[in-house]
């Protein structure tokens, strides 16, 4: 049972809060800037430019992926905040279905992540990556898919997290490994086999690879895209569907 108005207002609330919290907006821009220009420049000096682009250009698709990862997890963790601070009860006793709450949270988390990914694109001129109008829309399309996938994963976790204490564990044992084992900072093919296997079960790997397809067209492995684009998109879509189904189911059971 899906109700449109509750879903709309759940999304509206998240947007109002997102734009009201200036620190969150600032953080969106600060984190990738830090990674790109501090880590990227440092590492970049060790690695010779290959096949026509620099290390900085190589990690930019990964930075979009990272922004989406943090934003989506943060958005879905708001469910735990809502529970902790009582607001969840306001939604649970209203004449709306649990599914509407899950969908509202998923849509708002996805759209906020996409908005942040678009904000990150302002860095493109500083990196010398060419970006056409059609490429821009392709980036947005991939961002929607990847954001949707990670938000669904976050909601699945949030539905099972009973208090905010588990948040640090999630950050250290899920979010950070997902970032490092995603091909964001180093090519998947260059990794030792043990790490490569972990990377291959990470949905973010395929999302970032899809961004590489769009932004680093001329590249070839190891610094360019490493998997076929169709595979990337299909895998991310399939994982999203599974995550969202599990999230909706566990939310219904838990609450």
């Amino acid at each position: 049972m899906i109700q449109v108005r509750p879903i709309y207002v759940i999304c509206l609330r998240e947007f109002i809060k997102f734009f009201r919290e200036k620190s969150r907006l600032l953080g969106t821009l600060a984190r990738p800037v830090l990674w790109l220009f501090v880590v990227g420049n440092g590492m970049g000096s060790l690695i010779k430019p290959q096949v026509g682009f620099s290390y900085l250009q190589f990690i930019f698709p990964g930075m979009i992926g990272m922004t989406i990862l943090f934003s989506s997890i943060f958005s879905s963790i708001s469910i735990v905040w809502d529970r902790e601070f009582g607001f969840m009860k306001e939604m649970l006793v209203a004449p709306i279905s649990r599914l509407s709450i899950v969908i509202g949270k998923t849509i708002s988390g996805t759209l906020i992540s996409v908005a942040q990914a678009i904000i990150i694109l302002v860095l493109i001129p500083f990196l010398g990556i060419p970006l056409t109008v059609s490429q821009f829309f392709q980036v947005v399309a991939v961002a929607v898919l990847v954001s949707f996938c990670i938000t669904s994963l976050g909601i699945l976790i949030a539905a099972r997290l009973s208090s905010f204490d588990g948040f640090n564990i999630i950050m250290n044992f899920l979010v950070m490994p997902m970032l490092f084992l995603s091909g964001a900072m180093y090519p998947v093919t260059a990794m030792p086999p043990a790490l490569r296997h972990l990377t291959l079960i990470n949905p973010l790997t395929y999302g970032i690879d899809a961004f590489k397809h769009v932004l680093l067209r001329s590249g070839t492995p190891p610094l360019g895209p490493e998997f076929p684009l169709t595979l990337d998109l299909l895998l991310v879509a399939a994982i999203s569907a599974i995550m969202l189904t599990l999230a909706a189911l566990s939310f219904r059971k838990k609450e």
């Binding site: 109700q3 108005r5 509750p6 109002i16 601070f85 009582g86 607001f87 306001e90 006793v93 004449p95």
Partner: protein, 327 residues
Amino acid sequence: MVIINVHNLTRKFKTLTAVDGISFSVEQGEVFGFLGPNGAGKTTTISILCTLISPSSGKAEIAGFDCAKNPDQVRTSIGLIFQDTTLDVGLTAYENLKFHAYLYNLDGKLAEKRIDEMLTVVDLQGRKHDLIKNFSGGMKRRLEIARGLLHYPRVLFLDEPTLGLDPQTRNTIWDFINMLRVEEKITVFMTTHYMDEAENCDRIAIIDHGKIIALDTPAKLKQMVHGDIIRIVTEDNRKAVPEIQSLFNVSAREENGTLVLETERGDEFIPRLIHSLPTSTRSVSIQKPTLNDVFLKLTGRTIRDDMLQDNKEVTREFVRSHRRAQR
């Protein structure tokens, strides 16, 4: 007309029976109170009535709808004010109410009208566009009540509506609830462990260990305690005790130099006592029985015995608000 009907309701949690076969009904327009110590089953009962949890057995109906079978119809018929605040502190008063209006599917124009109406009722019209963060505890409570009434529920549930509020704010909230019952003819179902608060109810159910042990008007409940408590100090207490016994057939006991006796219609008894007692009296006081005395008589404990637990709640509230501030 009966608006809440509960029959043989039971709720078990693993080994604990939180609610144990309770039955009662509430008339439309009544203010009905659930009085009992912490852990007596008050919140569990409310949670079943407002469809948050399902009963293990038995039946609960609101406005003719079964709480377990037709939760959505029940939900549109009720408004809820929880123990802990459930407002979004990052939104304004208006935004919190608007959110509620959308969840309850109120039409846009109607929602605006009701929001203004309810803000006026709770006297927060001037703070419409202020963030909840900057509201005091009493203001938050008032706004929650406004929100609970926004969709014109037939029953308003108040779970410990004044917990953690200062006495002055508690009085304001009560004036307000009393006004609602007169003007909106709304049915109020509330839980409390404050005795003076329970006095405001039309009828009270005293609940302990998941069972209703008494259900009546506050006045009738207090009649269960035999009469009033009279304390007198006389010139010679030792001589006075047998005198009282022989003259009035009332046994008095001495407590710290004061004689304590229980009698019906104490106000009429005192003049007779002073007039007839050979030993002269120095001071006299009369105490009407309280609901706490009723609870004591029924259970052998006072509700105040779990003050310790109260302190825990205050600590929890403090930790919460502290964390909230750190956000």
